[in-house]
């Protein structure tokens, strides 16, 4: 799979303060990469460096495996910070102007985008008179002009109503599935992000502290009982015969994970003891993305 983004020790300092500090990240073709972090973690600064709006203090950005990012940026669409639109022009005029500037002006392109972001009914409204949600939709539409291969979306759900959030989520999934569009997205709405993302990058104080695939996160998020037992073979038999479940996993010589009976720990302990298995420890595991994020941030602070 080809790399769409690869950064090497990417650093951005403002008056000696490192907003982004030595970030090494890679995004592969077809990823929906969610960048997650608290306010001031460096997400927007990182996105600005990828889109050429901020120059790195040190480090390197390689886009589309091309060492000249300014050339590769023609294949990117961006929405960074608040929607940046020409406030005196209409919705349609904004799209017409940007499509000309991006060299993708052709018959039907503006109408396609209007329809895609659900703005076809408001095409002739002047930007000044539109709501934040409409501006956000149009900004996403501008990012989609010319069907870019890589989208950078900084807080794209901001200002959208629940229906709008759902539509944009569906749109991103569709673009990713049909066109193999790679997407880098940041959002404070962790649950929303978890519905679209295939990979996650967690940032804190300018550092990329953890990267996970969706599968890895799901694995971590799966609720289960982790048992430290005297005999894993016997414990497995108890699970199958006494508890009647195959939904377990022998992790090593001492540990078993049981994905059923999560809220019936007493029943599990009783069954194990009856089956001649000593239970040394039992922990209820599994966290939502939000819990995982909070725990990760707390652990980092403690370090």
């Amino acid at each position: 799979m080809s790399n769409i983004v690869k950064t090497k020790a990417l650093t951005k300092k403002y008056h000696g303060f490192a907003a982004v500090d030595g970030v090494n990240m890679s995004i592969e073709k077809g990823d929906i990469y969610a960048l997650i972090g608290e306010n001031g973690a460096g997400k927007s600064t990182l996105m600005k460096m990828l889109s050429g709006l901020a120059a790195p203090t040190s480090g390197e950005v390689v886009l589309f495996e091309n060492k000249h990012p300014e050339v590769a940026r023609f294949r990117m669409g961006c929405l960074i910070d608040s929607p940046a639109l020409d406030s005196r022009l209409t919705v349609r005029d904004n799209l017409e102007m940007f499509s000309r500037a991006f060299g993708c002006h052709k018959e039907g392109e503006v109408n396609r985008i209007l329809k895609l972001v659900g703005m076809d009914g408001n095409a002739n409204k002047v930007i000044k008179k539109t709501s934040l949600g409409m501006k956000q939709r149009l900004a996403i539409g501008i990012a989609l002009l010319g069907s870019p291969d890589f989208l950078i979306l900084d807080e794209p759900m901001n200002g959208l109503d629940p229906m709008g959030i759902q539509e944009i989520r569906q749109l991103l999934k569709k673009l990713n599935a049909e066109n193999q569009t790679t997407i880098l997205i940041s959002s404070h709405l962790l649950d929303e992000v978890s519905k679209v993302a295939t990979r996650y990058g967690f940032m804190k104080a300018g550092h990329l502290i953890s990267e996970l695939s969706n599968e890895e996160l799901e694995e971590k998020s799966k609720t289960c009982l982790r048992l430290k037992v005297s005999d894993t073979a016997k414990a497995a038999m108890v699970c199958e015969k006494d508890l009647g479940t195959n939904n377990y996993e022998v992790m090593d010589a001492e540990h078993v994970r049981l994905f059923d009976y999560v809220d019936e720990s007493a029943k599990v302990v009783t069954a194990m003891v009856r089956g001649g298995v000593e239970v040394g420890e039992m922990v209820r595991m599994g966290e939502s993305l939000e819990e995982f994020f909070n725990n990760l941030m707390t652990a980092r602070e403690e370090q």
Partner: protein, 249 residues
């Protein structure tokens, strides 16, 4: 850059500010023509009719184009910095110098349009009220005056655009800076006159040039063209040296 020029022209012709400034020039020119007619007909009680006529003619040539050019440039060319929409161009790989040079043909086109409207009213007034003959000589003089005015105002337009691009400020601060620059140059011009310095102080200022345009010989052409080219080169160098630095906010 070709695409960016197309986008800039699309905006120029679809922004109301362009048409409002053209209408403003037309209304202003009409007002000046009415004032000149009243002076000529003796309807306006002025002690020095010749002086008053010269004053209004200067107004026609200078403020009729310069003020709408300033206002429309502020509205058209600083809005992208205020709205931050210019960063979308940069994020799609359009260079900052490419952005600046794509705006130049736009602001020069605006200057041509404004000068045309102002001079068209002046010519109409000349024919209708002053009894000028609309013959070949008149047309040649008119075209020459139009071209001189356009190049002179174009110099100011290049300077205005460069200031906006380098400072990247909002509408209010741009207006204040531009007005200060305009009136500052006018004040300098008055000081020159008072001290009998000719145009030693403002000779190089584009803002002062429109006041000096006349129907006299070819030397006027050379001077105005030299000033235009000098400003164009200096502004381009400033943009190439200073305009590509820093982050896009």
């Amino acid at each position: 850059m070709k695409n960016m020029i197309r986008a800039s022209f699309y905006k120029l012709f679809h922004d109301k500010a362009t048409w409002i400034s053209l209408a403003g020039t037309a209304v202003w020119s009409l007002y000046v023509c009415v004032m000149l007619t009243w002076i000529a007909d003796g309807k306006l009680d002025v002690s020095d009719a010749a002086g008053a006529e010269k004053y209004w003619r200067d107004f026609m040539g200078y403020h009729g184009v310069m003020v709408p050019l300033l206002i429309s440039s502020i509205v058209l060319f600083t809005a992208e910095f205020k709205d931050k929409s210019w960063k979308l161009f940069v994020a799609r790989g359009i260079s900052r110098t490419g952005y600046y040079f794509s705006k130049l043909p736009c602001i020069l086109t605006l200057t041509v349009m404004l000068s045309f409207v102002a001079i068209a009213f002046g010519a109409a007034y000349g024919v209708a009220k002053l009894g000028m003959q609309c013959n070949g000589v008149f047309v040649i003089l008119l075209i020459r005056y139009f071209l001189l005015q356009t190049v002179a105002h174009g110099t100011a337009a290049v300077l205005i655009l460069t200031i906006f691009f380098l400072i990247k400020i909002g509408e209010v601060s741009s207006s204040v800076n531009a007005v200060l620059l305009m009136f500052g140059t006018m004040a300098l011009s008055k000081i020159e006159t008072a001290l009998s310095l000719g145009d030693a102080l403002t000779g190089a200022f584009a803002f002062a040039q429109p006041l000096r345009v006349s129907f006299t010989g070819a030397d006027e052409w050379i001077r105005i063209l030299i000033v235009f080219v000098a400003y164009f080169v200096a502004c381009s160098l400033a943009v190439l040296l200073l305009g590509v630095r820093g982050d896009v906010e």
